[in-house]
Amino acid sequence: MNPWPFVIAAYGAAIALTAALLLWAYASMRRAEAAADALKRK
């Protein structure tokens, strides 16, 4: 059994999920902080 497809799949899943977590956390932070700043300027 060729092990490389398993290794690549494991790394792919780990990178994709970590990237999704970071992007979601970053986007929600930017959105919330922008809304708070906009309200402060009003």
Partner: protein
């Protein structure tokens, strides 16, 4: 910890800390993974599949550390009424759930060529799956409590009681000797050869920094949302 109880003071610390954790985390995780994929030799028994440990072990550690963080935040909330404890618990949960999921997925992928099966209901795998579902329960409960304007005490009690699963996960390989191998990395040493082991601390520290960055970003988001809600209430009143 009490010095950071003031949200303004916390934000002065969190803003630069988020950037540093992201930068250091990305650099270490990428270097560790590339080194683990290209510079280390294959294991004499597992062959190339041993390379999965560089992502599986950090994700297992962070899946458990995340709940330890929730339990610490719960104690801080219930005992000292730390104003940021509930926010901290809610911020850590999605990162903990993500790394528990990564641990389960990478373990399953490693298990197919090594054990000949994707899944086995043994003590370690089952208790880790339970931890993942507990994260989902915590996220649902904490969100529902927050939407109803609660202080998050129910979620804190749930977080504290749920910590009982952590020693079960840790000692499962000793209590129930089934398919998952025993402890190969401990505080005092490791049974893995150093030629294979050396990239692991890089990915451990790297993914831990990324976990910290994700949690800080969620805390900043929650604090900003709370600020908007408070201002909207004042404007409406």
């Amino acid at each position: 910890m009490h010095a950071l109880a003031n949200p303004a003071r916390f934000l002065r610390f969190a803003r630069p800390a988020t950037n540093w954790l992201l930068l250091i985390g990305l650099a270490l995780a990428v270097v560790g993974m590339v080194a683990g994929l290209t510079l280390t030799p294959p294991d004499y028994l597992q062959g190339e599949t041993v390379r999965i440990i560089y992502i599986h072990v950090p994700s297992a550690w962070l899946g458990m550390a995340g709940w330890l963080g929730i339990a610490a935040a719960s104690v801080s909330q219930l005992v000292w009424r730390h104003p940021l404890a509930a926010v901290g618990g809610r911020a850590v949960a999605p990162a903990g759930a993500t790394f528990a999921a990564i641990c389960l997925i990478t373990g399953s992928i490693w298990g197919r060529p090594t054990w000949g099966t994707w899944w086995e209901w043994d003590g370690r795998l089952t208790s880790m799956l339970v931890l993942f579902f507990m994260y989902l329960g915590y996220i649902a409960l904490a969100s529902a409590e927050r939407e109803r304007g609660g202080e998050g005490r129910l979620a804190a009690i749930y977080g504290l009681v749920g910590a009982i699963n952590l020693p079960i996960i840790h000692y499962s390989v000793l209590w129930w000797r089934t398919l998952h191998q025993g402890e190969s990395i401990g505080i005092t040493g490791s049974s893995i050869d150093s030629s294979i082991l050396w990239p692991l601390p890089l990915t451990m520290v790297g993914f831990t920094c990324l976990f910290g960055a994700a949690a800080l970003m969620r805390m900043r988001a929650e604090l900003a949302e709370a600020k908007v809600e408070a201002r909207m209430r004042r404007m409406g009143a």
